[in-house]
């Protein structure tokens, strides 16, 4: 994953990212930090081709996203798993169905679906809860369902946008542990977060954004200055 001189200007003239250079090697675990409005969400949108860079080059898994045709976007997204702060589960579907949905809508043959769903649920430890609906689950379990859904395609990259934002500290740790385990299995993980404690404790690579620029990119804590 590579960004070269990437600037994103929205139609209203707001510059969300300015001249961002960033290289994330396969298998990395990085934190993306910075205050609200610093450009974290825009960066994520560029990586999944929800938005296009105004200038510069965005490359994911060898594909130049600026040149990618619209009909090739779904295939890209199957190689990236996304997790959000608000889980985004379908309330009428069970845990199993929520995870299977990601395979169903991408045309996966039925006989391949079940083993993949079972594997993803085992990975996040929700085998027992497979028949429950999201409203019967705790926040942590809901987020684990969302992670299972993100993992069911065996993606090369997981992008987690504030995955612990709605969870209490103990549960947050569970989710982080899960993401670390996924990373250890070889999947690149990028996690955007406000959670200073987690970032500082883990001593991983931290990319800090402020006003659309990368102000820091090193292994270490949340805030260098304090």
């Amino acid at each position: 994953m590579r960004l070269e001189g990437v600037t994103k200007t929205y139609p209203n003239g707001k510059q969300a990212l300015i001249e961002v250079d960033l290289v994330i090697p396969e298998g990395d675990f990085i934190f993306l930090v910075g205050p609200s409005g610093a450009g974290k969400s825009t960066l994520i949108k560029l990586l999944v081709r929800d938005e296009k860079a105004s200038e510069g080059r965005v490359e994911v898994a060898g594909h130049d996203l600026g040149r990618m045709k619209k009909r090739d976007v779904p295939r890209l997204r199957r190689r990236i798993g996304i997790v959000f702060q608000d889980f985004r589960l379908l309330p009428r579907k069970t845990v199993y169905e929520n995870v299977a949905f990601a395979l169903e809508v991408t045309g996966t043959p039925r006989k391949l679906m079940d083993p993949a769903v079972v594997r993803a649920l085992a990975l996040v430890g929700l085998t027992e809860q497979a028949r429950q609906r999201p409203n019967e689950l705790s926040g942590g379990e809901q987020q684990r369902t969302a992670i299972a859904r993100a993992m069911v395609h065996d993606p090369r990259l997981i992008i987690a946008d504030e995955p612990t934002g709605n969870l209490d500290p103990l549960i947050s740790w569970e989710i982080i542990q899960l993401l670390l385990r996924i990373n250890e299995m070889g999947t690149t993980v990028m996690m955007a977060t406000h959670d200073a404690e987690v970032v500082t404790a883990l001593r991983r690579r931290v990319v800090a954004l402020e006003d659309g620029r990368v102000v820091r990119d090193e292994v270490g804590g949340y805030h260098r200055e304090y």
């Binding site: 999944v48 009909r71 976007v73 779904p74 295939r75 890209l76 997204r77 199957r78 190689r79 996304i82 985004r88 379908l90 949905f101 990601a102 169903e104 809508v105 991408t106 045309g107 043959p109 039925r110 859904r149 993100a150 395609h153």
Partner: protein, 294 residues
């Protein structure tokens, strides 16, 4: 196969969740399709009536009393030579009276009241035309023979009136149907838009996990198609129930005129109703998906 099953299941679910709006759309569709079918039946009825009347068109020239037979024969030969004329028959005063009396007798009247009176009926020439629409020229030629011909009743005006009535009926029908069709289209568009809004979250998730566009769009287009097909099938069932009384009514009004209410018209109506329902449903859904799904 997987795609088809997925799309059908999603669209049926969508139809159920948004059922009030979809019933409204279907009912409007039925009303419009009934109007369409009625117009087709009406126009086809009037046209076959018109055809029947036209096929019976012949120009009759009533002759003055007491003209020389040679002059009549000469006129007859001259008219027969015209390109648009199939045949010319001469009927004498006596034959005319005989035919008149025979007709009264057939109606069961007492013809004795006519005996002893002077024969008031004129002799006449009957001109059969090759093309019933071309009676004008023949009428003019016969009318010019003022010494021989007393009166040529005007057939053409009646037919012209009927023809223009048919085309006016058709125009009016097309305009009314146009508006009805537009209403149906707008209602389908709105109905599918509601379905899209109700599933906004699902659509977003589908896109995030990498569903291709056809998986996102086709369930909604199928919803429109289902509304159209349901409307068309119900319309056809209603017509099936209503067709015997309509047929009876039509033959009561038209009498001996054969109305074209036959199997070819039935097939035609089935085709038009199904086609219009399917087309409007699919088109409305397609427009909605194109407009509201970025």
């Amino acid at each position: 196969m997987h795609f088809l099953r997925f799309s059908v299941r999603q669209s049926l679910q969508g139809l159920w969740r948004n059922r009030v709006m979809n019933i409204a759309a279907t009912v409007t569709m039925i009303l419009m399709l009934l109007m369409l079918a009625a117009l087709v039946i009406l126009i086809s009825g009037v046209e076959s009536g018109l055809e029947y009347v036209e096929s019976k068109v012949e120009v009759t020239a009533e002759l003055h009393d007491g003209v020389l037979e040679e002059r009549i024969a000469e006129l007859q030969t001259r008219v027969e030579a015209l390109a648009e004329v199939a045949s010319v028959t001469y009927t004498s005063k006596e034959e005319a009276l005989a035919a008149f009396l025979a007709a009264r007798k057939a109606e069961g009247q007492d013809t004795s009241v006519y005996t002893g009176l002077n024969n008031p009926l004129p002799a006449y020439l009957t001109v059969e035309l090759r093309n019933p629409r071309e009676s004008g020229a023949v009428t003019e030629i016969l009318r010019a023979e003022t010494g021989l011909v007393r009166f040529v009743p005007d057939q053409q005006t009646g037919i012209d009136k009927l023809v223009s009535l048919t085309s006016q009926l058709r125009n009016l029908g097309v305009v009314v149907l146009g508006f009805a069709g537009l209403t149906v289209l707008l209602i389908v568009i709105n109905s599918i838009r509601m379905a899209l809004m109700a599933r906004a979250q699902e659509i977003e998730i589908m896109r995030l996990v990498g569903a291709s566009d056809r998986y996102v769009r086709w369930p909604f287009i199928l919803e429109g198609v289902f509304i159209g097909i349901t409307g068309a099938v119900i319309t056809l069932l209603l017509l099936l129930v209503a067709s015997p009384p309509i047929s009876d009514l039509a033959s009561d009004i038209a009498g001996s005129v054969p109305l074209g209410f036959d199997s070819s018209l039935t097939l035609q109506i089935m085709g038009i109703v199904l086609g219009a329902g399917l087309g409007l449903g699919g088109l409305g859904a397609w427009i909605s998906v194109r407009t509201y799904l970025r």
